[in-house]
Symmetry: C2
Subunit: 763 residues, 2 copies
C-alpha cells in the first residue's frame, strides 16, 4: 500500500527559511502581546509575548517570578490553570497583488482556543496538534487586530489534582503531575505562527508516499497535489539521491488543481536504523514554475524507503501449551526490511515542561545522545507531547526508530461523542504529519491503558478509533493499542523489590517476556544539579516535605522512591555526605540498568526489545529513573547502558549484588551479537578484580557467533577469597576485541574474625 504524507508547504518553509523563503509565499511575522489578570485583581495586564512559547513563561517574565525549576517555585504557576489568556497582535493590511491571499497559520496552539479577527470569531478549536490554516483575506481591514483566546486548561474538575484530570482531553497528561514532573501545565501558542501571503497560483498541499515490492527491489513513488490556479504553470518533480543525483523525474503542465503522479524507482537504496546500515534518504523536489519559467514554489521532502512489520517472536507460537488454551502473545519482534532487529532503546519524554521552548538544537543534542547510547529505538511515551517535526527529521537522518504513542496515558479515556470528535481530528493530524518519516516504526494508542490504573480495554472506542485511523492513514506501519501488550513487560522500576526484597538480577532471570518496553532504575542526580535546585539549608540530609520531595526524591512512586536512601544505605552503610550518597545511588542505577539490558538481550530471540524508563527529563529532578538529567547531563548510568547496548559484547549473568568471603561466586557467560555479521571465534578471560588483586577464574574459547545470534557460554565459579575490600569487579576480557570487554561492580564483605568482633563490641 501507498504510504502517504501530507506536506503543508508551511512545514517546509520553517525548515528552509533562508533559502526558499521567497519562493513559497511571504511569511509575515507578527508581534504579540499577552493580556492576563492576576488573581484577585480586576484590571487586565499586558506584556510582550514570546511566540512560540507559553503564557506561563510570559507572565513569569512580566511578574519577575523566580525560576520554575528551583526549590518549589512551580507552585507559583498553579493559579494560571483556570484562567483565560488572550494573545493580541495588531497589523496593517498587507499589499496584495490580484489573486494573492493572506492566511493565518499556526503550527499548534495549546489547548482550547478561539481565533478572532477584528472582533469576529473565525475558529474555535480544541487540540494542540492540529495546525491552524485560515484564509483571512476576506476579513481584512486597513488596521487589524488578531486575538487568540486561550481557554483554561482542560480538566475533569471532579477528579483529584493529578493526571486523572486529563482523562477527557488530548492534552498530554504528564503536565498534571507525574512521579518525575511537577504540577505545571503549560498553555499558549507553542509552534511557529505567522501570516502567510500566498501567490495566486499555489500548491496548497502535497503528499508524497511510496509502495515497495515484496522483494524490496522496486519502489513506486506517488505524489498527490492539491493546488490553486495551477493551469498555465509548469510542474517539475524530481527524486534526488543522497549524492544529489536526480534518479527519476517528471515534468507536466497541470490541467486541473488535483493531481496524482507516479514515479518508479528500481533498486532503491533502503533506509536502515543506524546500527544496521545507512539511514539513506532520498529527496522529493517539487517545483511550480510560471509560464516564464520563474520559480513560484519549491517543495522538498525526504523519503526513506523501508518496510516495517511487527512479527511473532521466535518460540512464541509454541505457547501456550495444553488445554484449555488461550491465544498466543501479541507480536513484538520488529522486522525492518525483512531483517529481525533487537530494539535497544529508551522511553523519550518531553525535553522540557514548556514544549513551546524546545528548539531543534535541543532535540539535536538529545538524539545525538541516543545514538551515542547505541540505541536504535525511542518510544515517544503517550504521557507527553507528540514532538515537533525537527525531532522526527533528526531520527530519520540519524537512523533512530520511533515508537510513537498518541497522547493518552494511565487514564480511562471514555469514548464520549465529544472526546471522540477531538480524537478523530487530532489523530488524523498527528498521523498525516508524521507518516512520511521513515523513522516511524510503531503507532501506539498510549501508555499502560490496559492495566488497572487506567481501566481501558480492547472495547474502548477511543482505541478502536485509533486503530481505525492508523489503518486509514498509514496502513503500512504497525499499530498497537498500548504498551504493555500481552507478552510485553513493564517494570520493575527498582533495584530491589520492596515487598519481596528480590534483586533485579533474579527477577530478570526468571522473567519471560517478548519485550521489556519499560523498566526503570532510579539514581540520584549529581551534586552539582542538586545544588542548583535545592536551597542550601535543605541539601543535607535529604528530607521529605522539602524541595527534595518537589523534585521527586520522596513519595514519588511506591516506597521511598526515587531517592531510595534506605536501600542504598542497606547495601553500603550510612552515607557520610551528599557526595557519598549520590555516588552509591548512581552505582546502583548503573549496575541495575546494565543487568536488565543485558538479560533482555540474553533472552533473544524470544525477547526482542529493551527500552528503559526513561531517557531524559523535562526539568531537573533530585532522583529519577532517567539516564540524562535536564537538559542534557548524562548520569553514570548512561554510560553503563551505552556499554550494555554495544552491538557485540561479552556479557555475564550476575546472580546477586553483595557477596561474602568463602561463598562460591557464580556467573553465566555469554557473547551477545546483534549485528548481521558473523563474529569469529576467540577467547574471553573471566577475572575477579579488586583495586589490589586480580584472579582469573576461567578462560572461554568461544566459537564463532552467527549473525544476530548470541552464544551461551560456560558458568564460571570461584570460592571468594579473603580480600581487604568492600567491592570487586567481575571483568570479561576478549583477547582480540577489547571492544567486547565488560565489567560489573559487586559488593563484598569479608568474614569477621575474632578481632573484628571484639572491635565491634568495644564500639
Amino acid at each position: 500500500m501507498i504510504r502517504k504524507a501530507i506536506i503543508t508547504i508551511i512545514l517546509f518553509m520553517s525548515a528552509n527559511l533562508n533559502a526558499q523563503y521567497f519562493l513559497n509565499g511571504i511569511k509575515i511575522n507578527l508581534d504579540w502581546e499577552l493580556a492576563y489578570n492576576l488573581p484577585g485583581r480586576g484590571s487586565v495586564k499586558k506584556t510582550n509575548a514570546i511566540v512560540p512559547g507559553a503564557v506561563q513563561l510570559d507572565i513569569a517574565n512580566a511578574e519577575n517570578y523566580n525560576p520554575w525549576y528551583y526549590d518549589e517555585n512551580w507552585k507559583d504557576y498553579l493559579w494560571m490553570e483556570d484562567q483565560f489568556f488572550t494573545y493580541l497582535s495588531k497589523f496593517e493590511r498587507p499589499e496584495l497583488a490580484p489573486g494573492e491571499k493572506i492566511y493565518f497559520y499556526s503550527g499548534g496552539i495549546d489547548y482550547k482556543f478561539d481565533i478572532m479577527l477584528n472582533g469576529k470569531l473565525l475558529l474555535q478549536q480544541e487540540g494542540m496538534f492540529t495546525p491552524v490554516e485560515l484564509d483571512i483575506t476576506p476579513h481584512l481591514r486597513d488596521k487589524n487586530e488578531l486575538e487568540v483566546v486561550i481557554h483554561p486548561v482542560p480538566k475533569k474538575h471532579d477528579e483529584p489534582a493529578d493526571r486523572s484530570q486529563a482523562a477527557a482531553s488530548l492534552k498530554p497528561a504528564v503536565s498534571y503531575s507525574w512521579d518525575w514532573h511537577p504540577r505545571l501545565i503549560p498553555s499558549g501558542i507553542w509552534k511557529e505562527t505567522y501570516l502567510h501571503k500566498r501567490p495566486a497560483s499555489f500548491l496548497d498541499q502535497t503528499d508524497v508516499g511510496y509502495s515497495l515490492s515484496e522483494d524490496l527491489e522496486q519502489a513506486t513513488i506517488e505524489l498527490t497535489i492539491s493546488g490553486t490556479k495551477l493551469r498555465g504553470n509548469q510542474l517539475i518533480w524530481k527524486i534526488r539521491n543522497m549524492e544529489e543525483q536526480v534518479v527519476a523525474s517528471k515534468v507536466l503542465q497541470p490541467k486541473g488543481n488535483e493531481l496524482t503522479l507516479n514515479l518508479p524507482l528500481a533498486n532503491p537504496v533502503l533506509w536502515w536504523p543506524h546500527d544496521q546500515g545507512n539511514p539513506y534518504l532520498y529527496e522529493s523536489v517539487v517545483e511550480l514554475r510560471n509560464s516564464d519559467n520563474e520559480l513560484i514554489q519549491l517543495i522538498t521532502r525526504k523519503i526513506g524507503f523501508r518496510k516495517v512489520r511487527l512479527v511473532m517472536n521466535e518460540g512464541a507460537w509454541s505457547e501456550p501449551q495444553g488445554f484449555p488454551k488461550s491465544r498466543s502473545v501479541a507480536p513484538a519482534q520488529l522486522e525492518i526490511n525483512g531483517r529481525k532487529i533487537f530494539a535497544k532503546g529508551t522511553n523519550w519524554v518531553n525535553p522540557d515542561i514548556f514544549p513551546g521552548t524546545i528548539s531543534p538544537d535541543r532535540y539535536n543534542e538529545l538524539t545525538d545522545r541516543a545514538v551515542e547510547a547505541n540505541f536504535n529505538m525511542l518510544r515517544v511515551w503517550g504521557g507527553g507531547i507528540v514532538n515537533k517535526d525537527a525531532f522526527y527529521q533528526q531520527c530519520d537522518e540519524k537512523g533512530l526508530l520511533v515508537w510513537q504513542e498518541f497522547p493518552l496515558a494511565c487514564n480511562n479515556y471514555v469514548g464520549t461523542p465529544e472526546f471522540l470528535e477531538v480524537l478523530e481530528q487530532e489523530s488524523a493530524s498527528i498521523i498525516t504529519s508524521l507518516r512520511h518519516h521513515p523513522c516511524i516504526a510503531i503507532w501506539s494508542g498510549g501508555n499502560e491503558l490496559f492495566n488497572s490504573w487506567s481501566g481501558m480495554t480492547d472495547q474502548s472506542l477511543a482505541l478502536r478509533m485509533l486503530n481505525s485511523q492508523c489503518l486509514k492513514y498509514d496502513p503500512g506501519t504497525p499499530y498497537i493499542n498500548t504498551s504493555p501488550l500481552m507478552g510485553m513487560g513493564h517494570g520493575h522500576y527498582v533495584f530491589r523489590d520492596m515487598q519481596s526484597g528480590e534483586e533485579v538480577y533474579s527477577i530478570m532471570e526468571r522473567a519471560h517476556f517478548t519485550a521489556y518496553t519499560e523498566f526503570g532504575m532510579p539514581g540520584p542526580s549529581s551534586v552539582e544539579i542538586l545544588e542548583s535546585i535545592i536551597p542550601d539549608d535543605q541539601l543535607w540530609p535529604p528530607k521529605p516535605g522539602t524541595a527534595w520531595e518537589s523534585h521527586h526524591a520522596f513519595n514519588a512512586w511506591v516506597g521511598d522512591t526515587w531517592l531510595m536512601q534506605e536501600m542504598i544505605e542497606d547495601y553500603f552503610g550510612p552515607s557520610g555526605s551528599i557526595e557519598e550518597l549520590v555516588a552509591n545511588g548512581q552505582l546502583i542505577q548503573a549496575e541495575g540498568y546494565k543487568a536488565i539490558y543485558e538479560e533482555a538481550r540474553r533472552q533473544k530471540p524470544y525477547c526482542s526489545m529493551a527500552l528503559n524508563w526513561c531517557f531524559n527529563e523535562p526539568w531537573p529532578t533530585a532522583a529519577n529513573n532517567s539516564l540524562i538529567n535536564w537538559p542534557n547531563e548524562p548520569k553514570p548510568g548512561f554510560y553503563a547502558v551505552r556499554d550494555a547496548c554495544r552491538p557485540v559484547l561479552a556479557s555475564a549473568r550476575i546472580k546477586k549484588f553483595k557477596w561474602k568471603e568463602g561463598e562460591t561466586f557464580e556467573t553465566d557467560i555469554f557473547l551477545l551479537n546483534d549485528l548481521y555479521e558473523e563474529i569469529p571465534p576467540g577467547e574471553i578471560t573471566i577475572k575477579l578484580v579488586t583495586d589490589r588483586e586480580e584472579q582469573v577464574i576461567l578462560k572461554w574459547d568461544h566459537p564463532g557467533a552467527s549473525e544476530n545470534t548470541n552464544i551461551e557460554g560456560p558458568t564460571a565459579r570461584a570460592i571468594l577469597p579473603r580480600w581487604d575490600t568492600d567491592r570487586f569487579q567481575l571483568v570479561l576480557e576478549s583477547k582480540d576485541h577489547p571492544a567486547y570487554n565488560s565489567a560489573y561492580t559487586l559488593l563484598y564483605r569479608k568474614n569477621r574474625t575474632k578481632r573484628d568482633k571484639t572491635a565491634t563490641l568495644n564500639q
Copy 2:
C-alpha cells in the same frame, strides 16, 4: 451512538409474502436451468435447477447420485469443485407502467459469479454475503436470457486439499473439510432470487437505528430513507409495541429523496435474553402512500432496545501481579442493560452442508432446542456461514444472544489488496444486514486466528479492517478479533488428556479463564443414526478406513478421536456390542460436559462464559462433540447440558470418574444461581446411590444466595463401602426445590477378594 440497520424492502417481502406482496412492488419468480459438463464429456448437459439451492444437489438429482450423507458418497461430488456452472433463465419483458423498473435481485450467490443478460456482462462479484440488486430495465428485450455463471470454488491451489485452501477468500472454510465435516464444497444460488418490479415512487432503502440514554430510560429512534420520486407522496412512520399499540408516530410529505427522521420514546421496554427477562420487540412501520392515500409500500422492522457491553471480569484487574507486568486480560464479561450475565451456550455450526437448503423451519427447531437447553448465547462460529435472516429473527424473538463471527477460521488470511477488497465488501454487507437485530451481542473476526495453526496476529490487516468496519457500521456492539482472546480458553476436547491421562474434572478445577468459549466432549451417535450412514457390513466392529472414518469416528482430530473406543473401554471394559459402546460413550460425553459447564459456573464471577463445542452438525456424524445429531436428534449429553445450565441448581465438584471400595470419596458442594433473584435458605442432602442402596453422606443447610451469586458449600466425604455394582450416583437433593436437584454418574470397582483373584487366575 445510533445503531443503524439497512432494510432492503426485499427482506421484508420475503418474510411477508402473502400479506404485503403487492404493496412493495411485484416479485416475478424465474424458472431456472443448470448447465454443466460431466468430467471427461464434451457435451453440455442441462437440468432443472432448484433456486435457492446448490449446483451439487441439482446435478446429484439429475445424475441419480446416492445420498451424500451415506457411506462415502460425498466423494462423488469432488469433481465439481473446479468446474464452471451456468444457471439459465428465460423470460419475456414484463409490462411496465411509466417510471416502473425491473431489478434482478438475489439475496446471495455462492461464491464468485458473473451475471449476464442477453449476453452482456452486468456484474462480476466475489462473495456470497453481498446481495445482488441490479436495475436491468435498460437492458431488457422482448425475450430475455439471464445467465448466472458460477466460477469454480475459490482455492489456494498450492495448499493441501483441506481448510488451508480457503485462506484467500471469504468462502466459509468448513466445507473444505473439518474434523466433523466432509470435503464437500457447495456453490450456486443460495438465497431467494427473483425479478422485482418497482413502482416509480419507491423507498429503496430504509435504516432504523436508535440511541439509548445512559440510564436506559430514553430512546431516540432514527429512520433514514433513501428513495426514488418521493415528492408528492406521504410518509407515515409508526412505532408499535408488542400489544399492537402505536407509541410514537410521524407523518410528513417528503420534499427530497433522502430523509432522516427521529422519534423519541420515553421508558422503552427493554429487550432481554430469555433467561433474564422478556425479549421485548417493538415494530417500526413505514408506509409510503400516494396523493390519493393509496398504500404504495409498507416496510416493517422489529426493534429491540438493549445496551450490550463487554466489561472486565471480576477480579481480572488485579492480575497480573508483580513486575515486570504485562497487561490485564481482555474483557469477557457480557453486560446487558447494565446487568452482568453469565453466558451459557454453545457453538453453532452450519445446520446443513448445503446452506441453500436451510429453511426457517430448520432454524426454528434448532433455536427451540437452544432455549430448551437453557442456553442464552450462540456463538456462530467463523468456519461456517453467516446465517439467513430467519435465524437472527428467531434469536431476537426467543431472547438468544448471538456472538457472530466473520467467515474466517484457522487460517492466515493475508491482507493482500485483493483479499481486503472482498473483505471490505462482505463485512459491510454482513454488518449492515444484521446490526439491527438485538440478539447480536458480539462481533468477532473469526475462529482461533491468534493461535499457531492460524498464524494471524494483532497486526493482520484483515482483522484491523474488521475492527474498523464494525466501529464504522455498528459502534454500539462489542468487537473482538478472535476467540480465544487473552484470558479466554478453548478446549479441552476430550474427557481424558491423551498425553497426561488427566481427566476433565481436575483439568477444569485447575483452569483459570475468564471465558470457556469452546470445549468439547465427543460422544458416538445413536445406533439408529449409525445404521443410517454406515453400511451394515462395516457397522461392527468400527474400523478406520471405512464409512466410520468418513463420518469422523477415526483420525478426525488427535489420538483416536472422535469415537475414542480405547478410552471408553479402558473405563468400562471391552464393549460387547455397538449398543454398549454407544451407551458408554454417550455417558462419558454427558458426564464430561456437565463437569465443564458446572465448573465454569462455579468459577463465576471471574469466569463469565461457557460455550461448548458444538451444538449441532451439518450432516450425520458417527461420533462428534455435538449435542445434537443432524438434523435435530439430541444425544443424551444434550439433556445433561440442559440440566447443568438450569438458572439455579445444586452442583458438585467431582474429583475423578472411577472410584474404588475403601477410598475416601470427596466432593465440594455449591449452590449456583444465575438469576437476578435472591434464593432463600434451604437444605440440600448429599447422597451416594446405587441401584440397590443409598447412603446420605451430608446435609447442608445452605444460606440464601444473593442475585447472580453462587454459594460455596461444604466438602462432603465418605469412605466408599463394598457395593456389588460397577457404577453409582452422587445425588444432591433440595428439600424444598426439586428443580435444583442434580445427579452425577461415577464408576466403581470393588476390591478383589481371594476368591476373585482365584477366579481370574483360572480364566
